[in-house]
């Protein structure tokens, strides 16, 4: 896997970290670097978060920097708005993306609008972190993948790393961003593997996708937990003689239009993979981008391999719901043999 080095400071060394450890490392880096950074959420203190993403941070930085809050998502986001407009940079943890809904009003009517509403007099430099996605046999609602609710929300950026390196670099970029960022963390990827992660501060630019693999026949476009699925399918396709461009979007709003257009103009074929429901899913936005930028290049209709138009099921059926390399493979065949 190719790794860009978009470093702002040359780091001292690197560590082998899982994605969730890279998150912790990113949080620690920013807590150290900037006194105005605060962490808030349910169980983020002593417990270090239910996924251990904030492990050790309260011990190191104290209860004034890393705050356990009441069980109250609207309260967490709402009070963080107050802190954000008053000089702090809250990094809020929503325990699971499926529990962000009580905060929906605060995000929709305030987090994303306060800059516009006040012509920049007040701003909300807030990061909302949320683990998302199916595949870890969690109880219902825990597994939702609702990025599209937020990419449609004007005034907030949405980021979703698939690797440890990107996770830390994007998280730091999100904290440094003067505007609100929803930061989605794939639970399935939290401990899936380790990667070299530089110590200290570096950033990965928000809004830029990453080409993971080069191929001339089909473009696979995906992000987060579906990246390994796409890569496996690409490998199967390679064996069958079909070469895939694999794009990890990394940022879901604003989407990196250029990386998509460039690739599809080369391959003429695209398969989009995401785990959210198909109708209203982000796949449609990507199809529109291709329609807008690459109409004349298309050799076959774009295929989507996604979750179905049903609530993410109870976990006994979640493997049926989630896209698999086989389903992606079938879509690749379909766009190849149109």
């Amino acid at each position: 896997m190719m790794i860009e080095k978009e470093l702002v400071n040359r780091p001292m060394g690197t560590n082998q970290l899982t994605l969730v450890q890279a998150i912790t490392d990113g949080l620690r880096t920013m807590l150290k670097e900037d006194d105005s950074v605060l962490i808030l959420g349910e169980d983020v203190g002593k417990n270090g978060g239910v996924f251990r993403a904030t492990e050790g941070l309260q011990e190191q930085f104290g209860e004034n920097r890393v705050m356990d809050t009441p069980l109250s998502e609207a309260g967490i986001v709402g009070t963080s708005i107050g802190m954000a407009v008053n000089g702090f940079k809250p990094v809020v943890e929503i325990q699971f993306l499926g529990f962000i809904y009580p905060a929906f009003e605060q995000i929709m009517t305030h987090v994303s609008r306060i800059r516009m509403r006040t012509m920049g007099s007040y701003t909300v430099p807030m990061v909302i972190r949320a683990p998302y996605g199916a595949g870890i046999r969690a109880p219902e609602v825990h597994s939702d993948s609702v990025e599209a609710l937020f990419t449609h929300m004007p005034g907030i950026k949405v980021v979703c790393p698939s690797s440890a390196y990107d996770a830390k670099g994007l998280l730091i970029a999100a904290i440094e961003d003067p505007d609100p960022v929803l930061f989605l963390e794939s639970m399935r990827s939290y401990r899936a593997n380790r990667e070299e992660v530089p110590e200290g501060k570096y950033m990965v630019e928000i809004g830029k996708g990453k080409k993971l693999q080069d191929g001339d026949d089909v473009t696979l476009i995906t992000w987060g937990a579906m990246v390994p699925v796409a890569l496996k399918a690409a490998e199967q396709a390679r064996i069958q003689g079909m070469a895939c461009d694999v794009i990890d979007l990394r940022t879901l709003y604003p989407i990196d239009k250029d990386i998509i257009a460039e690739s599809v103009q080369k391959t003429g074929r695209a398969v989009i993979i995401h785990e959210a429901q198909q109708t209203g899913g982000l796949g449609n936005d990507i199809i529109s981008i291709i329609n807008d930028t690459s109409f004349l290049f298309l050799k076959s209709p774009i295929e989507r391999v996604t979750g179905f138009d049903v609530p993410v099921p109870f976990f006994a059926l979640e493997d049926k719901y989630l896209p698999t390399p086989q389903r992606v493979m079938k879509a690749i065949e379909k766009v190849m043999h149109f």
């Binding site: 349910e42 169980d43 203190g45 002593k46 417990n47 270090g48 239910v50 356990d68 809050t69 009441p70 069980l71 109250s72 998502e73 609207a74 309260g75 499926g98 529990f99 809904y101 009580p102 046999r137 969690a138 109880p139 219902e140 609602v141 825990h142 198909q278 109708t279 179905f308 138009d309 049903v310 609530p311 099921p313 109870f314 976990f315 006994a316 059926l317 979640e318 049926k320 719901y321 086989q326 389903r327 079938k330």
Partner: protein, 355 residues
């Protein structure tokens, strides 16, 4: 407001009667039923934890320590009442009549686990915290409108009181004087967050004052207190006197769920102390012993009965038909929309081809 809302007890830690009010209703049969139900759900709970450890069950939320609250409150219900539980209230639903196999299925990620027994008005456990509270208020408003004599009970934890839905649900219930009992199990932790960080108020019961609603604080490990207070609240509800908020002060001995490690955030020796002094099963045992109700033969018999029942339920779960992929598609709408129908068709074709 711990002074205004003292913790009511009927039987104290030593099994001694400290409140005579309900003496007449404390029949031998009732006491034995208390014991039976606590033992039954404890046996179930321990089995579930052990199944999870063996990889035969998904993540599970144990309630050991809270059995008096759950069994006592559920026993106070009438058969046509409604129950709105959380993920930790299987002790209550089992006592009310939920299927044990289905309860295990639920924790194995099987949607079949949410199908209530015929005629039983058991809502699926609320996973998003506090969201069931307005549902319960609404179901009660519906019973009132129908002019029935039925009531509703909603279960929720101390952490749930911080959510807006708690407030909105209680407000609706009080405005419409709905026949509902809001039954809070204050086990003093929301995952790792202790109640002192959850709220600045000394009690949960006092939150009833915001709605001019009766608020009652009870010892949640005293099944007598639980049963009779819930019964009174249900009676008030049935008699058109509106909702009640009950705070049952209790404790979970174990982890929040089997994915959680309580030692990270609290000294688990406290659990052991509470187990020795406050345990709901021990307490009723002491009461029975002081009142000549302790019958070793009977204990042995019900222990065996319960063990068999639980083992059968486990078998039932393990022999249950494999998940049906149709269920992924078929229950979203009464009639699937074309997107779902098309996706199902394509998926089934695909799996047929792959097979």
């Amino acid at each position: 407001m711990t002074v205004e809302f003292p913790i009511l007890q009927i039987v104290d830690e030593n099994g001694q009667l400290v409140n005579e009010q309900y003496r007449d209703q404390m029949t031998k049969e009732l006491v034995k039923e208390f014991y039976y139900n606590i033992l039954r759900i404890r046996t179930f709970d321990r089995k579930a934890v052990s199944l999870q450890r063996q990889g035969r069950l998904g993540t599970y939320a144990p309630f050991e320590g809270q059995e008096a609250s759950q069994a006592g409150s559920a026993m106070a219900l009438d058969k046509d009442d409604w129950i709105f539980p959380t993920y930790r209230d299987h002790g209550a639903t089992l006592t009310f009549g939920a299927g044990m196999t289905r309860t295990l299925l639920y924790w194995n990620g099987r949607v079949e686990g949410n199908v209530p027994e015929e005629g039983k008005r058991i809502f699926p456990p609320a996973v998003p915290i506090a969201t069931q509270i307005p549902h319960a208020a609404g179901a009660a408003m519906a019973e009132k409108r129908k002019g029935t004599n039925n009531a509703v009970i909603a279960y929720f934890g101390d952490g749930a009181t911080s959510e807006g839905d708690f407030h909105e649900g209680l407000n609706f219930a009080s405005v419409f004087q709905a026949p509902v009992v809001f039954f809070n199990q204050n086990n003093r932790f929301a995952i790792s967050v202790p109640i002192e960080k959850q709220m600045n108020s000394g009690t949960i019961a006092q939150k009833a004052l915001a709605y001019d609603m009766p608020g009652v604080r009870i010892d949640g490990n005293d099944i007598f207190a639980v049963y009779f207070q819930v019964l009174e609240a249900l009676n008030r509800a049935r008699n058109g006197l509106g909702p009640t908020l009950i705070e049952a002060v209790t404790w979970r001995y174990g982890a929040h769920t089997t994915s959680d490690d309580p030692a990270k955030y609290r000294d688990q020796s406290e659990s052991e102390t509470i187990r020795k002094t406050q345990d709901p099963l021990l307490r009723i045992e002491r009461y029975m012993k002081s009142n000549n109700l302790w019958d070793k033969e009977w204990i042995k018999k019900i222990t065996e009965e319960i063990t068999t029942e639980v083992e059968q339920a486990v078998r039932g779960m393990e022999q249950f038909p494999k998940p049906n992929v149709n269920d992924l598609f078929d229950n979203v709408f009464e009639k699937p929309t074309w997107t779902i129908a098309e996706q199902k068709e394509q998926y089934l074709q695909f799996t047929r081809r792959e097979a």
